[in-house]
Amino acid sequence: MSRRFMRVFALFAVLSLILAACGNGADPTTTTAAAPAETTAPDDTPDDTPDEAPDDTTAPDEPMTEGPLGAVVVGPGEPIKIATLQAISGDVASLGEDQNRATEIAIADKGDIQGFEIELSYREDDLCNSEGGQTGSTRIVADPDVIGVIGTSCSGAGVPASRVVTGAGRVLISGSNTSPVLTSFFDGNPGPEYHEGYYRTAHNDAIQGAAAARFVFEELGLSSVATINDGDPYTQGLTTAFGASFEELGGSVVLATAVTPEQTDMRPVLTEVAAAGAELIFFPIFQPAGDFIPEQAPDISGLEDVVLMGADGLLSDTYVVLPQTKGMYFSGPSTPETPEYADFVAKYVDAYGEEPIQSFHAHAYDATNMLLAAIEEVAVMDGDNLVIDLQGVRDALNAINWSGLTGSLVCDDFGDCADPTIFIVQNTDDTPTIADVRANVQVSYTAAELGF
């Protein structure tokens, strides 16, 4: 009986492995122009499909200049589809919401490409974790007409999303992923999670870590610090970069530890921090775990005067209003001071009734504009259809020199396009708003000043 069961089970397991292998292998082919005929796109209305089908079946026979990744054919009256994959629920919702608004503004600003409307077809939630990144990106690439994805909000979600989206031939442009693993550590080699077709307009945390370390060492004059991450690639990358830069400057990291994102009781870990004798705690994590460190630190003997410092993930409208965050420092991308940015903020306030709620709206606006510029460059008319070659989109992005809100964007070999300036701000008000905190700049460093 049980042996028979084992046999059936083994057979099932082998079959499922084979199927899984086939599934992976089949992925790239589904992105060719023939795909819409095979896979039924969820958004296609039934009367659209027959229109497309003749084109698609004839496409491979014609000597069309189609790249190795295939092309997306947009029929007359159909929109050019792009998607977003951002954190739009839970405590980090402001991070994604801010960027989705920026993407909407960028699409509205662009209007159309050669008479074809641009549609934000999917707004998936990256949940700020790898599960969300995996699910959301898989859902998006199931529609073969999507050309590019703006996202993710969190580097943790970016790791699987980069693999899935680029594996399907599309491009992923993030406005707020900052972990070095997604691009590179600036050592000439790709990061462990870099995939061709991934770009970002946000800074690389190697730079932010260096900026934060220099501020702590030179401006605050502290020499022993503790870092706390939560295991997420963003927080790990940033604490590692901070620690390396800080020790290079001559300081010492007396404790590099971690908590879990769900942890509420920080007192044991803070006791360890006190025992290690840290003068500053650098914890670039997220809410809600980030709420508990400043809340519980003053209770620990030895930490009454400890300096607390977070990073861009905590620099949000929901965090700075907490009373315990008064006095905290934050590192993050600096606010642009150009008239173009002022115009953008005016549009933002006009459309959503409030000032930008997080740090990465300008980056997402630039990311969307870069994607749309690349699409515009490669889109060619073929009869009544607009043909967008997917390899062409990547080539256009690789060659882009875009003057955006956050500076001039030129992508390096591993998808880092930003020319960042990192600022350090402090929350000093009793009843601050995010705009107040962001305006209270202590110091700012350009990438060149930090030696990048």
Binding site: S89, G90, D91, A93, N229, D230, G231, A256, T257, A258, V259, T260, E262, Q263, T264, D265, R267, P268, V269, T271, E272, A274, A275, A276, Q287, P288, D291, F292, E295, D299, I300, S301, T318, L322, P323
Partner: protein, 360 residues
């Protein structure tokens, strides 16, 4: 030749089997591993005596809340022999109610002028809410399944758990809510040379009072006697004139009230709550109930406090001794490993009775 064979089974009981040897070897290894790790981290002098004491107090205060929640698990298991996985959510609903009440009170004069009364109101409201929710869940989800195989209410309880979570999410939103501060509870208090945080002192005091109250209720009152009778044998209890359904409702009510107290205290200790806050404490409390011996009330209390101490002290004591990086992240691992280790030494939990006599 066939006759001696029948004599084998009784002898096998006392014989040392390979499994026994393995278990003993494993036990010795566990003691050595824990002992060596603790020895290294204590003698390294990394933490002072006061800091070790603080870690234990943090553990006791968190553990006291686990105990209160664990009581609900263990009592329901006692009478119905299934694990009510929705109990963590009952706790979360209590904490959420505590937030809503505290937030409303914070705008009034009472919060500043009479914090003691305010806290009592908050805790009573969260108790009431949790009791009502626990009883309602029993009425809607579990009573129709009375007499069905035990797996069915178990699965139902997981469904009830999700229902409550997303109900709260729908009602109050997904964001984390921060409790208003209680100024008199900030800072430390000196209890006969024992300096601890005031919030923790209050939490431990209230939890101990609630647990003593529950113990007396179960041991000394008629209703308590009925609960014990139902948990002993529902059929016989019914024959003796005990209304079993009614007693079960009371068990859920009392368990819910204890979770409500824990929810109110949660607000004092970790001043924030969201719709998902019940999940991890719920699992921890379930662990505590098993650790103490499921079905045993005093066991749940002991189990909760031990679990709290394990997870607070364990990473610094044992893991630090082996130079494991970022050991604070592993406190949940330590908590669940502690369960496994305790069960290796005492398979039925600290105060558990033998499960072999359990009826189905």
């Amino acid at each position: 030749m066939a006759q001696p064979a029948t004599a084998v089974p009784p002898r096998r009981v006392s014989r040392i089997t390979p499994v026994n040897i393995f278990i003993w070897a494993f036990r010795i290894m566990v003691v050595v591993v824990i002992g060596y790790g603790s020895f290294v981290s204590i003698t390294s002098g990394r933490l002072t005596a006061a800091q070790w004491r603080d870690l234990i107090v943090f553990g006791v205060s968190t553990g006291a809340m686990f105990s209160l929640v664990a009581l609900g698990y263990t009592m329901v298991y006692g009478v119905l022999k299934f694990i009510n996985f929705a109990h963590g959510e009952v706790f979360m609903c209590g904490a959420m109610t505590a937030f809503l009440v505290a937030n409303a009170l914070a705008d009034t004069n009472l919060w500043a002028t009479n914090p003691t009364l305010s806290i009592i109101i908050v805790v009573l409201c969260s108790m009431l809410a949790s009791t009502i929710i626990a009883v309602t869940v029993e009425r809607i989800a579990y009573r129709p399944l009375r007499g069905k195989p035990r797996l069915i209410p178990l699965i139902t309880s997981i469904g009830a758990s999700f229902t409550l979570q997303y109900l709260v999410r729908g009602l109050v939103g997904p964001s984390t809510k921060s409790f208003p501060r209680v100024e008199p509870l900030r800072g430390t208090i000196d209890l006969a040379g024992f300096v601890i945080l005031r919030a923790q002192a209050v939490v431990i005091f209230v939890a101990v009072v609630a647990m003593i109250g529950l113990y007396l209720f179960v041991e000394k009152t008629k209703t308590g006697k009925a609960m014990r009778a139902v948990s002993e044998d529902p059929d016989t209890a019914a024959l003796m004139g005990i209304d079993v359904d009614r007693t079960i409702v009371k068990v859920f009510g009392v368990g819910g009230a204890m979770a409500g107290v824990a929810g109110g205290l949660w607000g004092l200790l970790f001043p924030s709550v969201n719709f998902f806050s019940g999940f991890l404490p719920g699992i921890k409390a379930f662990t505590a109930a098993v650790l103490g011996g499921i079905g045993n009330i005093v066991g749940a209390m002991l189990g909760g406090i031990s679990l709290g101490i394990f997870e607070s002290v364990g990473p610094s004591l044992v893991l630090a001794g082996y130079n494991i990086p970022a050991f604070s992240q592993l406190k949940d691992v330590v908590a669940f490993t502690a369960l496994v280790l305790v069960l290796i030494f005492r398979p039925s939990g600290i105060l558990g009775e033998r499960l072999a006599v359990e009826r189905t």
